[in-house]
Amino acid sequence: MAAPAEAAAPAAAPAVSGALWAEVWALLPGTEEELTLALSGEVDDCVQPLLRRARGLLYGAAGRPCGEEAAAALRRLGDILRDYSWEKLNAGPWREISKAWRQVYTYGCLFGALAEVAAGRPVAPAVRLCDMGLLMGASVLDNVLARLVRVLQRQLPREQRRGAAALAAEVRPEGPDPPRRPPLPSPRGGGSAGPALAAAGPTTVLQSVWTEPRPAPAVRPEDALPRLRCPSLEHFRDNYLIPQKPVVLEGIMDHWPCMKKWSVDYFCQIAGCRTVPVELGTRYTDEEWSQKLMTVSDFISQYIVNEKSVGYLAQHQLFDQIPELKEDINIPDYCCLGEGDEDHITINAWFGPQGTISPLHQDPQQNFLAQVFGRKYIRLYSPQDSENLYPHESQILHNTSQLFCFFIG
């Protein structure tokens, strides 16, 4: 039914490249002088000449896509800037890395992505470069990478549809299909697929490979957290925040768009081609634990749909990287009760299959966990019990307990 994964997309014809280039060009300052290459701090002397040369190659062609030679030279400079700054980004704890070096990395990604477009090559690698800059860099030119990736993503629908159709085809199971229940609710019941998929309803196909989810662990009544329905800010603050008592708040998310919109299909459609960090391995205290960058589509096909091994899109500021998803959620009013101003609110996404485990740990900030679909079992201990929870001695894991928590059932 669905077409098998096709071979390489043909290189974009010059006409397409011209139209795309015009759109991309419009994101940049009009003249070379206006692209100031300003950095939020000092970097090594060798960097500025490289930035200037890249800028010169870009503007040298006066708004037309650079010639092949200039595009190749621009690509090379992008590589050099990224590789040089990469070493700085890895030269110490992340919080000590200067913003200036992260900006240099972003310029490297920007020039690299622009070179791909200028050379008329397929857009997906350019999208990946933008994502690398968004993940590891720091904003330059008014967050130009976020604007650039939006433009480039629009070029992808046709390619993306092919990719997602192939995704559906790939998960067709061998052998008999026992009836199984999908853990993720399909937004459209058993009906047709989302617009991104040409194949028959993905729900029907994907359903067969999902395993039966484990039953929820039993929680004794005396351990269950209190549940409140939309308490007032004052009530929450006085009875839970200040005395540091955990609580489940109900009804807050009822009208968030994500409750209706989010599904595996939706994520593939909105963000399938975007590169995200994925944690591999059962828990981050294990020796074999690692992180890997991959596209959302790859993550879903490898770790959500097929579940060969554990992969977890965890603790990632997905909504900064993909602002379209941010429009599907709200920030609970209760967040304004925290210390500091709104800038101190960080929003992380957690997206994974069943069986992901976060070891017992303590976060530096107060948290709200908003569960959109699926379920999570959480066990909380009072900070007063910290010593009895045997935090690791090493600096890296000092916020994490050495204890395993097995839940029963």
Partner: protein, 392 residues
Amino acid sequence: MAAPRRAWLVFGFSTEEAAGEPGPGPGPRRLEPGPGGIRRVWPAWSYVVVETGAGLEVQSAGQRRRLRGWSEALPSETHLVLRGATVARAWRRGAGLGAPAWSRALPRGLPWQPLPLLPGGFATPRPPFYTTLPAGLRARRLALGNEHVLVLGANGELHAWGGGRHGQLGHGTLESEAQPRLVEALAGVPMRAVAAGGWHSASVSEAGDLYVWGWNESGQLALPCKALAEERAQGENAGAGTAALTPHREQPVAEAAAFISIQALPALLDLPQEPEVSEVSCGSRHTAAVTRGGELYTWGWGKYGQLGHGDTTSSDQPQRVEHLVAEGLWAEAVVCGPWTTYVCVQEPPGPQCVPSPPAACSEDPAAARTSPSPTLPSAPQDRTRTDSAAPD
């Protein structure tokens, strides 16, 4: 009998490209010998300091500049440290050689140690420029990584300290160390050489065995590297242009346990045919070793051609640099810059001659002075030079 001719070749990132200009390609390139040939090289990223018969010289894109009166250099992208007979100084790059950013008088009469070692401590090409060492360390050699320091002591013992997040200290943990700490795993094996890369370390024992430890993210430890294995697998999965969208094919990825990202304890590295290693040097993310048989092996990050195999692929397996073999060149010494490999080679002798053994690189300064003038000792090595010229 014609004296053997020596030359320095360099592979990898060029100083021209570091300046944003078109580059001459990954190499090999031959360093211009200058007056009296090149004896030692100290590479930075965008420039290299060489020692010629006429003294030190800075070579960068298209430019050469003499540094009169100095005997040794320790360069970085932010500063240049120069050492003379009586003083060591550091200058900010790009500020010319006017007022130094740092200066330290050196007492005379002490046994010579190569930079970064200085009497009582060591120099760094960035602030604080000088750090004391505990006297008990009896440092013979010292190597600087991006975040760590390695010291080879008088009895062949190693100490390591500094940042340890990538296992580069060899203490078996990912913890950093504020003070020199003995590398216990090698305590029974006397070393004769030590090298530090960006986030990895290497040492050569008296018996010619090579040990490596630290970060293996580009195969620089010659241990199985997951990222490289995946690249190779993707390369075999014929070119899909939209690699990011191609649904993941079932790749026969070996057990996760087989790949090593960090090696926190020294591991013995056997080169193909297990020859004796005489020297090792580390770049940012690659490693190079010279064997007693005059061969050069490289592995690790190769994107800028620094492995010297004529391509830009990285490798987690040591490979011999065939160019030297093809040209009949005998490798005597190797020094890595961040993205480069400099190798000192002895060129094929004339028809009636036997190649002179690499023992010309002796530690005895007297031997160097009595050898005929066209013969240049290979670098780096110990040489006490009496500098009569006052430093600039």
